[in-house]
Amino acid sequence: MSVLLTLAAGEWRFWLRSRLVLAGFIIMACVLAVTSLVTVTRIDAVQKQRLEHQVAAEERFLAQPDRHPHRMVHYGHYAYRAPGPLAIIDPGVDRVTGQSIFLEGHRQNSAMFAETRSGAVLGRFVELTPAVAYQVLAPLLLIILGHSLIIREREAGTLAPLLAQGVRPVAMLGGKALALASVILAMTVPLMLLAVRATLNGESAASAFNLVGAYTLYLLIWGGLILLVSTLARHRGIALGILAAFWVISTIIFPRLAASYASVTYPAAGKIETDLMMARDIREVGDGHDASAPTHDHLREQLLSDYGVARVEDLPVNFRGMVALASEEKLTRLLNQYADDQMLREQQQAALVHRFGWVSPFIALGNASRALAGSDLAGHHRFLREAEALRFSFVQGLNTAHAHDLSYADDANRNRDDAAMQQARVSAENWKVLSDFRFTPSPPEDRLKAATPFLMMLTVWAAGMLAVLGLAAGRLRP
């Protein structure tokens, strides 16, 4: 057996004979098993439930009888964001952002304007998932296992005889690193199983592989740091203190500091301010329900001129429907502007937080994980945009039916009596303007592209750690 393997096997023997370490192993195994099972069960249920709700919502919409088309505009529809297969590892912002949007005319994605001053807060610790277990808890077990890797030998006096009988410092560190790496490999087995399951459920193998790779790299960075501190520190207590401090700074302080810094640097307007500003701007656009409002005079003149008639009653299209079409378009443009501003602000905040990955591997991994799993802020924004596209499409489809399939006279007289009300209806066939909506994660290559900066940060961390460890090996003394 080579020196490296002998040293690694020796370390394993020590761990297996230490009650504290065994307890750590058992606790971590239980945490990983439980979080994996609970998250898989929850995400499976959520996926099934949201798909069922989506189908039911579509069926309910299509099952509506002949009606006035504008009633269907307000009947509305729901868009559900079903989590991607890799959400069983990292559900990401799912719990924070909500997962469904009610779509109706003249209103847009109310989730966008929730009381969230900072997009940077998205993705914080909200529940115990495999992602949290690996990002936050696994380093703690590695610290318990590894903080004394070298220091224990020095304190017990066994380092001197080992080096004196020809074990090279590089081999010494290599053997200990191998032992810790084997623990890391064992710890990633549940993660690999989850990734395989995600792949069987339609996830691309590349995304699953990259996700497992990112977590492994993160844990290896921790392993390197632990070995480095154990090599350089003079006492076990000091090593433990340094590593615990780094854990607190990296996983608790920096993420919150980054979020606060981002919120201050790119402040976002709150719900009340946004609602007030929007209400003011919407008034200027005019009410699409009131075709006689002065804001629609220009449209009236334009249509009368285009069709060469003198009265709206003589137009070959329903003027009220045309107002609804034009008004919805103007209103949507305005609402989109607000949505884009909000999303831009959240992206700016997120981009600022992302830079903290250079000083905290926890932040780098969190971002890489959410990007690869398709559960990041960008994925949420894409859902909002797709849902809005669906809303605009079916609302304008209904407004088109309003303009072309219902006469102005029937429309204007619909409140006269029941017969007039019956007359002011269009066929339920028109409800088919509603497209099927199935939200799926973005293509694997897009997700990899989004995760690349964070994977690069982790790679730089790992390379730096390796270089410093090489230098530390040269300084290893009994």
Binding site: L7, R13, P161, A164, G166, P478
Partner: protein
């Protein structure tokens, strides 16, 4: 006789402080040389310098005619080092400790020579399968000596080897050292035990504040006189 260890005008510093100052002595093949001195005299530093852990600031240190830094692997292969307090692994048994250390020395540990070495150091057979955390200091020392025997290194560096041992264990230990020297091993032992040094050493060097202040040589077929060494060690008479 071939010189296996040599320090010539050796000076060493630790943390900027001079710990050895112009020390000279040599150890020949099959010889037991004791370096005697009080706390802080520079005894352990001398051993660490031969092992190549500390570089000399001036002077010369050689193992088998070569500076350790020239070929650190060869120097360490030639030496079996027993630090103070027989540093072995408490969570391993005697056999496991020996197998582990021998594997790391790139030797193939076999059961038979291990048992023979443990027999040689008189470690009770029923203790050999127990973890060392339950051993007395003397028993640990025996395992450490067994390791040195198995290593088959021609040079032994012993750091305070009898510290904390009871008189019976000390006698057994001295017997083992004589046995090893008789078999051609060279021993450099650092100690503050005047009696023990006189019992086993053919020559004694007296170290004080990093300087060699005296030396004693045993007469042919006899031992160094304890009283003379003790008086010099205590500073009552010039060495």
């Amino acid at each position: 006789m071939k010189t296996v260890l040599e320090a010539r005008d050796l000076s060493v510093e630790r943390s900027g402080k001079r710990v050895l100052d112009g020390v000279s002595f040599s150890v020949t093949e099959g010889e037991v040389f004791a370096l005697l001195g009080g706390n802080g005299a520079g005894k352990s530093t001398t051993l660490l310098t031969f092992l190549g852990f500390l570089p000399p600031v001036s002077g010369l240190v050689q193992v088998n005619g070569k500076a350790p830094a020239e070929d650190i692997a060869a120097a360490r292969r030639a030496i079996a080092y027993l630090p103070e307090a027989a540093t072995l692994y408490g969570h391993l048994t005697a056999r496991e400790n020996l197998r582990y250390f021998l594997s790391l020395a790139r030797m193939r540990p076999q059961a038979e020579p291990i048992e023979a070495a443990l027999d040689q150091v008189s470690l009770q057979p029923d203790a050999r399968g127990r973890q060392l955390s339950s051993y007395s200091k003397g028993m640990r020392q025996k395992v450490a000596i067994a390791l040195a025997l198995l290593r088959e290194a021609p040079i032994l560096l012993l750091d305070e080897p009898t510290s904390g041992l009871d008189p019976v264990a000390i006698d057994e230990f001295h017997g083992l050292i004589r046995l090893l020297a008789g078999a051609g091993r060279s021993v450099l032992m650092v100690t503050h035990d005047v009696y023990g040094a006189c019992q086993v050493a053919g020559r004694i060097g007296l170290l004080r504040h990093g300087q060699m202040v005296g030396s004693f040589t045993a007469p042919a077929g006899g031992r160094i006189e304890t009283e003379a060494v003790h008086a010099a060690f205590a500073g009552r008479v010039p060495a």
